[in-house]
Every structure is written in structure tokens, then in C-alpha cells.
Point group: none
Chain length 278, copies 2
DNA sequence: GACCTAGTGGAATACCTGTTCCAGAAATGG
DNA sequence: CCATTTCTGGAACAGGTATTCCACTAGGTC
């Protein structure tokens, strides 16, 4: 049942573009398969109809139909295309990167900058895995897992850390409140916080005074505060019940938040996991 | 029947060296398999016992014996090692983390989760540096550097990416506008955009329809759009003048934004740098 | 030279594979 | 609104899978 009037794809790139072209007209389930296939090409190459179908939340027969939709005989034909893509690709990732570096002598400026930030992020992550003490992390998870509502405090550069946490917490059905509203009712919000709640505050130099003030206000009222900051000299260090020091490596004076976000996500998921056990 | 007293190999390199070490003492037929396997690793990864046995002039059962000789359960275990070698999922980081685990004895659950996210972030960064084409990056920088105002479009999970960009752009005195206000005046904001402006849109699956709609509205009026998304099937791919595909590795079904933020910062700083030269 | 052990070939098997088929659901068009 | 086409889920099936098992061979040892 080759729907397409054009030739059937025989290599991965052709298949890929064909899929993208038909994006609009593809039936729902076939679309699901298309998305999964392009996102997890290795799984298609190595998996079985059963395993792939399960991973893509689809029936095995749908995989066959998907392949036939593009003029192939069946799933096996599709799989061969995905396998061919991997064949002969003997080089490991690291090897490939090395090749890119040596080959791509003519570096663009933006490419250099990107590599710089990628390098800085790698460094930050390594520092993170070395710096975090498991016991403190457990304590922090404990505090936040017991909280009815988690108040998230951050300004400026740290702000994205708490917004991404807020999104994830929301998905996990854990109540949280970002305290950084443009409406200016932050203090009203914080007054609603009670001793059964908890707060997570993030602040990097130059420390926003509001964040520290809000964290202190909560701490004074007996609400436990967990903090993420970049130095023992941070105002948060003296306020928080548990605090973590995380120094993002910088590139050209700018710091990205790669490690902070990895930490935030780990904290979030750990809290959710702990909650299930309570 | 694990002949070797040492641990069973779990990655290709270990297996390879183990085979080479035992070269002298290996029985004839197993030697035949060893030679074939090292010469045609792709065949082992993709073939079946029957096809490989025929190609190596050996019985299928010999393949099983070969695998068991190295302490593996059977041929399937052997095949998995050869498959992992070709998988984009670089075993290297996972292996390194596993080593850390075995060294660091008593693991806490949150510690394991953190390491998972750190590993995923490393992987994402590697994928980023392999995937980004310098020419496209230059084009994007060009577009954004010429813009009077940069409109930043993102929702939900992607939102932190643009807030961190907004912060950095502000520091760099580059005018920008986050189009995601709670006030609901997004469309009014977008109407102010003119052909001398530009937009940067971020959207990951499941794609927020508003983001695509806003990006399209701008594109239709001749305003160039640069996009960051996670799949060629993303609605943004068809809209943007230049778009980048960046797939964050996931841990336990959750994705952090480590690589996206590194990319965003690189783009921001590159744009600032380019502006100084204009 | 008989014995034993390690190695080998090949058939038997239980399981799982990709594929087909069809009833019914959903979408489409008049 | 119904008729018609397209799409989907699930069971059924034939073929191939990795594995096991056992008879047999080869090579070395007392």
C-alpha cells in the first residue's frame, strides 16, 4: 500500500525527509511512530517489533503499517534502513568529536563560543558530581518531600532554575509556588506559608537582596529552607537549614546554568520518589 | 562455564582486550569466531546466529559457546555488547558513573538520581556539539544580531531557556522581549514587531500550540525566526528560517535543559560579539 | 595403548519473531 | 444524518530464533 507516488526510500536521510514531508497528512498512530522513530533511531535499529511498539505505545502491527506506508515491504525493511545508518560507524562519540575538531580547522567564531560553553558545562557537571554530599542531599530531599507546598525563591540569573523546577513539580502533582511574581504580591504569598511547608532558594553572586530577605523571613518563622548557591559567603548559607555550594564554570565571563538545572531536576525527581514512599 | 577468573566484560573495549589476551589458549573454532567477530563487529551486532555462523564457517552452537567462554549468558549477551558499541547512547559516561558507584560504596537513592541526571546532561552536551552545524549557527547569529528587538517565544518546559537568555541579553544591553506574559497581552506585543526585528522560539515535545502559532504569525509578516526544537517533526521546523535540532537525553523519563541552556548562552554571547562588529 | 578430558557438530526444542487478517472504530464526504 | 472510506487494535500464524543436549572426535596423560 505505497501511498507515496515517489520512489521508496532506501537510505535514512531520504526516509527522514519523506517522513517530515508527510508530517501533516500522517494518521495519528503512524505519526506517533514517526516521532518515536526519529527520536530513537537506535531503538528501531536494534529493537524488535514488540519492544519498539511498547516503547512507542503502539501495536506491533502499526509498525508494519508504518513501513508499508512508505512503500517498504514491512518492518524488516524499515529496520534495515535504520541499521544501515549505524553500520560502519565504528568511531565512538569521542572519536567523532576529535575528528570534527581536527577536520573543522576553519572554525567559526560562534562555533568556538559554543564549544566553550559546552566545555564549561561539562566542567560544571563534573564539579557537581564531586561536590555534592549524598547525606546532605538526602536531608534536603527529606525536608522538601514533607512539605505541603514548596516555595521557590530566585531572582535574575537563578530564576530559570526555579521555573523549570516549578514545571516539573507541577507535572509530578506536587504543590509549589514560585515567589517572584511581577505582580509584587510576593510578601502576601509568603505570609501564607506555614511550618508544614518548605522553601527552596537559589541565589548566585551578585546575590539579589530580595531572595535572601525572603528566605530569612521564612526561616525566622520556622519554615525550613533548602538553598543552592555558589559560595559559603552567600547570604543564603547562613539562613538555610541545608545548603549546597555549586560553582558553574564560566566561559568568557558568562555562566550557563547547566549543572544547576541538572541538580534541580535531580532534587525534584528525588522528592517525588520520596513522597511516593511516605 | 566462565573460564576467566576475572569479571565478565560489559563493554566492547574490555571484551576486545580479553579476547586478545586469550588469543593463545583459545580452542580452534572459538579462535575462528574471535577473528571473525573482531573483523566484522557490525555483523555480530546486526546478524543472527545462523547468518553469523555461516559467515564464520562455524556452527551456531559455537557462537553460544564462545559467548559463554567469556562469562556471558549466551550469544544474546555478546550481541548486546556489540550493539552498545554502535549505539549513540555512549556507554562511556554511564560506565564512568557506574565505576563511581562501585567505588563509593553506600549509595543513596537521591545520589543515584543525581548521577543519572549528570550523565544525561553530559550526553546531551556531546550530542549538541556533534549535531550543530557551524554554518547554520552563523546564520542564526547573523539574523539575531541585526534585529532591533529580539522576541523570545517559549512555553512550559522551554520557558527557562528564554528567561535565561533574556537575563543575559539584558546584561549585554541588547533589547529583547519575552513573549509569554501572564498578563495575556502577547498578541499586542507581537504586533509591535516589525521587519527589522527577529524572533527566537524554543519548543520541545509536547509542543505548546501557542508557541508555534506566535512564531508563524511573525514569520508570515516577514520577521525572521530562529528556532530551537527537538525533532524535525516539530511545528517550528517548518516555520523558522533557521532551526536547530537538539535532543536532551532523558533520565527516568525526565529531561533537564542543560544542553539547551549551553546553546542559548552561546547564541546570546555570539550575537553580542557580532553586534560589536557591525 | 587405554583412559580421560576438552572440544565439536548437528539435531531437537521452546520461545519469540514479523507478518497477516479481520472486526470494529473513527473520520470523511455527501 | 447515513454511507463510505480510512484507520486501528488484537488475535492468529508460519517461520525463524537462540539455546540445549547428546553423541562423537581429537589430543594429551599416565
Amino acid at each position: 500500500m505505497p501511498t507515496s507516488p515517489i520512489a521508496v526510500p532506501t537510505d535514512f536521510e531520504t526516509l527522514r525527509t519523506t517522513i517530515v514531508e508527510q508530517r501533516a497528512t500522517l494518521p495519528k498512530r503512524l505519526m506517533q511512530v514517526a516521532a518515536y522513530a526519529l527520536d530513537h533511531p537506535d531503538e528501531i535499529a536494534f529493537g524488535t517489533t514488540a519492544s519498539i511498539a511498547a516503547a512507542a505505545s503502539v501495536q506491533p502491527s502499526t509498525l508494519v503499517r508504518f513501513a508499508q506506508h512508505f512503500g517498504l515491504d514491512g518492518f524488516s525493511g524499515l529496520q534495515q534502513i535504520f541499521q544501515a545508518r549505524l553500520r560502519g560507524r565504528t568511531a565512538s562519540y569521542e572519536d567523532r568529536l576529535r575528528q570534527l575538531e581536527s577536520a573543522g580547522a576553519a572554525e567559526t567564531e560562534s562555533g568556538t563560543i559554543l564549544k566553550g560553553f559546552i566545555g564549561a558545562a561539562h566542567q560544571s557537571l563534573d564539579a557537581l558530581s564531586a561536590a555534592i554530599e549524598p547525606e546532605k542531599l538526602e536531608q534536603a530531599v527529606d525536608i522538601l518531600a514533607r512539605a505541603e507546598t514548596i516555595y521557590l525563591i530566585a531572582r535574575r540569573r537563578s530564576f530559570p532554575v526555579v521555573t523549570s523546577m516549578a514545571y516539573a513539580l507541577g507535572k509530578l502533582k506536587i504543590r509549589c509556588q514560585v515567589v517572584s511574581s511581577a505582580a509584587g504580591n510576593d510578601d502576601d504569598l509568603l505570609e501564607q506559608a506555614g511550618p508544614r511547608d518548605a522553601a527552596f532558594a537559589v541565589s548566585f553572586a551578585p546575590y539579589a537582596p530580595e531572595s535572601a530577605a525572603q528566605a530569612r523571613a521564612l526561616a525566622d518563622r520556622g519554615i525550613p529552607v533548602v538553598a543552592l548557591t555558589d559560595s559559603a559567603l552567600s547570604p543564603l548559607a547562613g539562613i538555610a537549614q541545608v545548603w549546597f555550594e555549586l560553582m558553574e564554570a564560566d566561559h568568557a565571563g558568562f555562566r550557563s546554568l547547566s549543572a544547576s538545572l541538572a541538580f534541580a531536576m535531580a532534587l525534584t525527581v528525588s522528592v517525588a520518589e520520596r513522597r511516593r514512599q511516605l
